[in-house]
Amino acid sequence: MSALRSDALLAWAMLRGSPRSERWRLALTGLGAALGTGFALAAAVVAVIGTRYGGGPPSYTNGLLNEGGLRPGVITALLLLIVPVLAFVGQCTRIGALQRERRFAALRLAGATPRQVRRIGALETAAACGVGSLAGLTGFLALRLVLHAGQQAGGGDGGPQQRALTWPTDVPVPWAAFLAVVLGLPLLATLEAWFTLRRAATDPLGAAVRRRRPRRFRRVRLLPGPLALLAATGLLLMAMSRKLGPDTPFFAATGLVLPLYLFGLLTSSAGMAAAMGRLASRSGRPALMIAGKRLRADPWAASRAHTAVMLAALIGVGYLTVRRVALDALRAEPEHHPDLAFYVGGYNLAGLALLIGVAVTISGLAVSVAESLTARRRTLAALAAAGTPRKVLRRAVLLETALPLAPAIVLSAACGLAVTGPFLVARAWSARPLLEAALLAGGLLAASLLATAASLPLLRYSVHPAQLRYE
């Protein structure tokens, strides 16, 4: 315990002397934790509705909360939102990675064991997430109070018994749930940090000895990704051609094809980035050439940063298709489905959750671009000092995002369409889903480029000649 105490004191002392990037990292990590806490608490509230803690039978204006059969779906959606949040927090740990590695090396040199260094690093994350989680809890409670007051005031006549509420602010959340969320989320993030720090903490010479040659990267393995994609498509076609009743293709699709597509997409992204880099670096245009060289040198950086966006494209297109097909089916027979509005509401809510997930994902991309700009500032400053116009550098940075991301998004959207293909084929064919998928892909790419552009002001600082003089 005293070891933990002295590690915590050291972590605190270092935090006080830390550069701005470090504070940004911790602030953003805390923000992620606050968001995650909000989602988890909302899920807890929905989970309590209708149980013996929830008091009386639920009556809300939103059908999703009333129907016992639909609430698990709502809870799942809310909990799934924690996934992009954790990805965002993971993205944040990359901010200032270079400085952190140097600090860890210096600690190791002074006699810290690898475990000790990992513990200090994880403690920093734990503290940031703990504070963020508490902020999330405060925000949640405040929002609940405000909504509750609003509902009481706006209710007008009729006793509280009859009046249906929009928000479930009348549900008492058990203390255990608060405790579990406020402790559990930082714990989860800390475990994530502990895991990602396993390699950062090993080399005691990192700072004191200049790296003689840049680390060589493994060659990109090109085969497994496309193979998985092909296999998934083959399986899908097989399942569809068998025509084993309306349900079979769906289960085949989600059970086996979706994981295969996911694996294929994730493993081909680095290869795609490298291939685009090769193409671009042959071009005569300077911006393309710079972007291409960078992509070839480190295709993994691109694939790391873009994984979440690819997932968003896949899930987004899948959602749009399912929604379109399902609602069309309902609308085709209105007499059998008097509660159409209820279903539309449900799909809209899922869509909102997805949108929030995409927003978090795009913020993560902005963070990673900013990170890479500051980490590569010496290279960028050298390019600028050698006479590369800033406009060219700006374009190169945008191209670095666009070149690998455009094909990645198209491919992911195609996979999303393919997974939901059985639905499309089972219903009457229409071009609407295709159009929607194209729109979504375009929107995602545009949003990603905007996020990249948002980090460009950092370039001015990164290319300053002073970056060449120190260290």
Binding site: M14, G17, A106, L109, A110, G111, A112, Q116, A208, V209
Partner: protein, 231 residues
């Protein structure tokens, strides 16, 4: 003949296709200042890293008393760095986020010493190296010479058996370099600490009791130990 404090025998270390060390042997005696010189790229730093237990040699052995450093685990070698050994490099060994006082106290804090006690000894050593006035500054806010004195204070704060210094004055002008060397040699002699000093500056090497030269990854010459090491 005195038994050596640390003895390296037949060290081999390869980095990819480069042979940094090709069978280097060297003895560091108790209480002596040993200078290691040689051309750039000859393997001086690698030899120092191996003898300090920072890097593991591919072949050969490093004996510290009855212990084999080349076989010791990562944890044991880390612990030795905060109890028995101190290291000083040309730059980069201080933690940029910590004040000079915390930097010097670091090995003690890592070993679980109370904060107050650690700061007290750190303050004493900062004073001995003439940088107590800089106790509250961070490495980026100090001059190169001040930074190296802080690094020396940290190397000495645990009352180590040996200090490993790799070009500790490499980034300093000759006056600052001489001041740092005088401070190091003085403190080491007083506490009976051995110093392994890597340098390619003949003036700096002159502070040593013995000298060894490294060429192409082997120790080419090593002065015989004097009958008695001068105190």
């Amino acid at each position: 003949m005195t038994t050596p404090l640390i003895e390296a025998r037949g060290l081999v270390k390869r980095y990819g296709t480069t042979d940094a060390l090709r069978g280097a042997s060297l003895r560091l005696l108790p209480g002596e200042v040993l200078a290691v010189t040689g051309p750039s790229g000859s393997g001086k730093s690698t030899l120092l890293h191996c003898m300090a237990g920072i890097v593991r040699p591919d072949e050969g052995e490093v004996r510290y008393g009855a212990e084999r450093l080349d076989q010791a685990g990562e944890n044991r070698r880390s612990t030795l760095r905060r109890t028995d050994f101190g290291v000083v490099f040309q730059f980069g060994q201080l933690v940029g986020e910590l004040t000079a006082l915390d930097n010097v106290a670091l090995p003690l804090l890592l070993a679980g010493t109370s904060r107050a006690a650690a700061h007290k000894s750190a303050g004493t050593w900062l004073e001995r190296f003439g940088v107590l006035g800089q106790a509250g500054l961070r490495p980026g806010e100090m001059s190169g010479g001040q930074g190296q004195r802080v690094a020396l204070a940290r190397a000495m704060v645990t009352a180590p058996k040996a200090v490993f210094a790799d070009e500790p004055t490499g980034a300093l002008d000759s006056l600052a370099g001489e001041q740092v060397m005088t401070a190091l040699v003085h403190a080491a002699r007083e506490s009976g600490t051995s110093v392994l000093l890597v340098t390619h500056d003949a003036q700096i090497a002159a502070y040593a009791d013995r000298e060894a030269t490294v060429r192409d990854g082997v120790v080419e010459t090593e002065d015989e130990p004097a009958a008695e090491v001068t105190r």
